[in-house]
C-alpha cells in the first residue's frame, strides 16, 4: 500500500526528514509516534500528496508520487487535527460538497450512511459552526471515508478531544479498520497508539528510529524505550 524509500525533506536549510524508509501493507494500522517537531505531520502530508519530498521515491496505493498525485488522491482520505469543514454549511451540505468533488455515486445514500456511521443523524441539518470539537471530528471522519478510500491518513486525530469523544473516535477507527482499510496515524499519545495499532513506528529526529508490531513488546516497556530514545 505504501512504499517510501529514502524520503528527504528540508525546511530551508534545516533537514526535517532524513532518508525515511516506510512500508505499509494493505490492512495494517500503523501508528507513527514521536516528539513534537520530529517530522510526523510533514511526513503524513507527503504521503497525502499535500507536500513534495526533496528526494526519495514514494508509491502510495500503487501509484507514484508526486507524478500520479491525482490517482493517489482518489484513493486516500485524510483527517487532520483541523476539521476541514465549512462552518457556515450544515453537516449534510459539507458532505454533499465533498461528495460532488469526489464524484461519489449514489451520493445521497452515501451521505445518509456516513452520517449514521458517525452517529450524527440528529445534527445533520445543523451548521458545523455550532458543533463541538468532538462532533466536528466525527463529521470529519464521515467526510474522509465518504469516497471509500483504501488508505486513511490521520494526523493526531485525538487532539483537543475529551475522553468520551476520544473513545468514540477509537470505536469508529476500529470499525473502519475491520472493513479492510489501511490506516496510518500520527500521534504523540503512545498508550493510545499501541492500543489501536497493529504496528508502532518511532519517528525521531527525521528518521524511523524503531518499529514494533503489536504484541511484540509490552506497552510499559514501549513507554520506557520511548522516553529513553527521546532523551537522547
Amino acid at each position: 500500500m505504501i512504499e517510501a524509500r529514502h524520503i528527504v525533506k528540508h525546511y530551508g536549510l534545516k533537514p526535517v526528514l532524513r532518508e525515511v524508509d516506510f512500508m505499509v501493507d494493505s490492512g495494517e494500522f500503523v501508528a507513527i509516534v514521536g516528539p513534537n517537531g520530529a517530522g510526523k505531520t510533514t511526513f503524513l502530508r507527503i504521503l497525502a500528496s499535500l507536500a513534495r519530498p526533496n528526494a526519495g521515491t514514494l508509491r502510495v496505493a500503487g501509484f507514484v508520487l508526486p507524478a500520479q498525485a491525482i490517482d493517489v488522491r482518489r484513493r486516500i482520505g485524510m483527517l487532520s487535527h483541523q476539521a476541514l469543514l465549512y462552518g457556515d454549511l450544515t453537516a449534510e451540505e459539507n458532505l454533499r460538497f465533498y461528495g460532488r468533488m469526489y464524484a461519489v455515486q449514489n451520493l445521497e445514500a452515501c451521505i445518509h450512511d456516513a452520517i449514521r456511521l458517525v452517529g450524527l443523524q440528529r445534527r445533520r441539518r445543523d451548521l458545523v459552526r455550532r458543533f463541538s470539537r468532538g462532533m466536528q471530528q466525527r463529521l470529519a471522519i464521515a467526510r474522509a471515508i465518504l469516497h471509500e478510500p483504501e488508505l486513511l491518513l490521520l494526523d493526531e486525530p485525538h487532539t483537543g478531544l475529551d475522553p468520551d469523544a476520544a473513545a468514540m473516535l477509537d470505536g469508529l477507527l476500529r470499525e473502519v479498520t475491520q472493513r479492510g482499510r489501511t490506516i496510518v496515524m500520527t500521534s504523540h499519545d503512545l498508550q493510545r497508539a499501541s492500543d489501536l495499532a497493529t504496528r508502532v513506528d518511532f519517528l525521531f529526529r527525521g528518521k524511523i528510529a524503531a518499529s514494533f508490531k503489536q504484541g511484540e513488546i509490552e506497552t510499559q516497556r514501549l513507554l520506557e524505550m520511548y522516553r529513553s530514545v527521546t532523551r537522547g
Partner: protein, 233 residues
C-alpha cells in the same frame, strides 16, 4: 573561507575602469547641450539606471520561472539579489529624472507614461520585497516571490502600453519637447550615452555576482552553525 574567484576580481577592476571612463565621457567628453545646459548630463546616468532597473526586473522574473520549473534554490537567490539591485537603480532613475526635470520642465513630476510606468515598477519591486519579508517558510517564500515577479513582469509593460495608447488618442504636449529625441544630436553624446549603458550593465553584473557570493557564504555559515549545534546535542 572561500577567496574571491579570480574572474570576480578581474570583473571588479574592469567595472571600476568602465566607471572612470564613463564619468570622463559624460562630464568632459560629451559637449554641453545647447538647450538644456549642464543638467542634461544627468541623462547619461538616468537612462542607464532605468535600463538596469528593467534588466534586473527581467532577470528576476526569468529566475523566478526557472525556480518554479527546476525547484533549485539558486534561482531564487538570483531573483532576490537581482531585485535588491534593481530597486535601488529604479529609485536612482526616478530621482535623477526628477532632478533633471525641475530646471527643464519647471516641475518635479509629470504624469507622462514613462514616469508612471517607472513608478509602477518601483511599487511592484517594493511589493515583492514586502512579500518576501512576510513569509517565513523558505520554500514558500521562493515560490510566492517567483509567481509575483512573473505577474509583475507581464503587468508593467502592459501598463506602459495602455498609458501610451491613451496619449496617442489624446496627445499631451508638455515642457520643452521630448528628451530622448532632442538630446542625442551630437555623435559624442551618443558615444557617452551608449557607454554609460554598457558601464551600468557591468555595474549590475558585478553587484549581482558579489551579492550572490555573499548569499552563498552566509548560507555556508548557517549550515556550519546548525552542524555545530546538533553535534553538541
Amino acid at each position: 573561507m572561500e577567496p574571491m574567484p579570480k574572474q570576480l576580481k578581474i570583473l571588479n577592476w574592469l567595472t571600476i575602469a568602465l566607471v572612470a571612463a564613463g564619468l570622463y565621457l559624460a562630464i568632459w567628453y560629451a559637449p554641453r547641450e545647447a538647450i538644456m545646459g549642464e543638467v542634461q548630463r544627468v541623462f547619461y546616468f538616468h537612462v542607464a539606471a532605468g535600463w538596469v532597473g528593467a534588466l534586473a526586473f527581467l532577470v528576476a522574473a526569468l529566475s523566478g520561472a526557472l525556480f518554479l520549473i527546476r525547484r533549485e534554490r539558486r534561482w531564487d537567490r538570483v531573483a532576490m539579489s537581482s531585485v535588491e539591485i534593481g530597486v535601488v537603480f529604479t529609485f536612482i532613475n526616478i530621482v535623477s529624472g526628477s532632478i533633471w526635470a525641475r530646471p527643464i520642465w519647471n516641475t518635479w513630476w509629470t504624469w507622462d507614461p514613462r514616469l508612471v510606468t517607472a513608478t509602477v515598477m518601483a511599487l511592484v519591486y517594493l511589493a515583492y520585497i514586502m512579500l518576501r519579508q512576510s513569509v517565513d517558510d523558505p520554500d514558500r517564500r521562493a515560490r510566492f516571490a517567483a509567481v509575483y515577479s512573473i505577474l509583475g513582469f507581464i503587468s508593467v509593460p502592459l501598463t506602459f502600453l495602455s498609458i501610451r495608447i491613451f496619449r496617442s488618442i489624446h496627445p499631451v504636449v508638455f515642457g520643452a519637447g521630448d528628451a530622448l529625441s532632442s538630446g542625442m544630436s551630437s555623435p559624442r553624446m551618443q558615444v557617452a550615452f551608449f557607454f554609460s549603458l554598457l558601464t551600468f550593465s557591468f555595474i549590475y553584473g558585478t553587484l549581482l555576482w558579489h551579492r550572490l557570493r555573499l548569499q552563498h557564504l552566509s548560507e555556508k555559515l548557517e549550515i556550519q552553525k546548525m552542524k555545530m549545534l546538533s553535534a553538541e546535542n
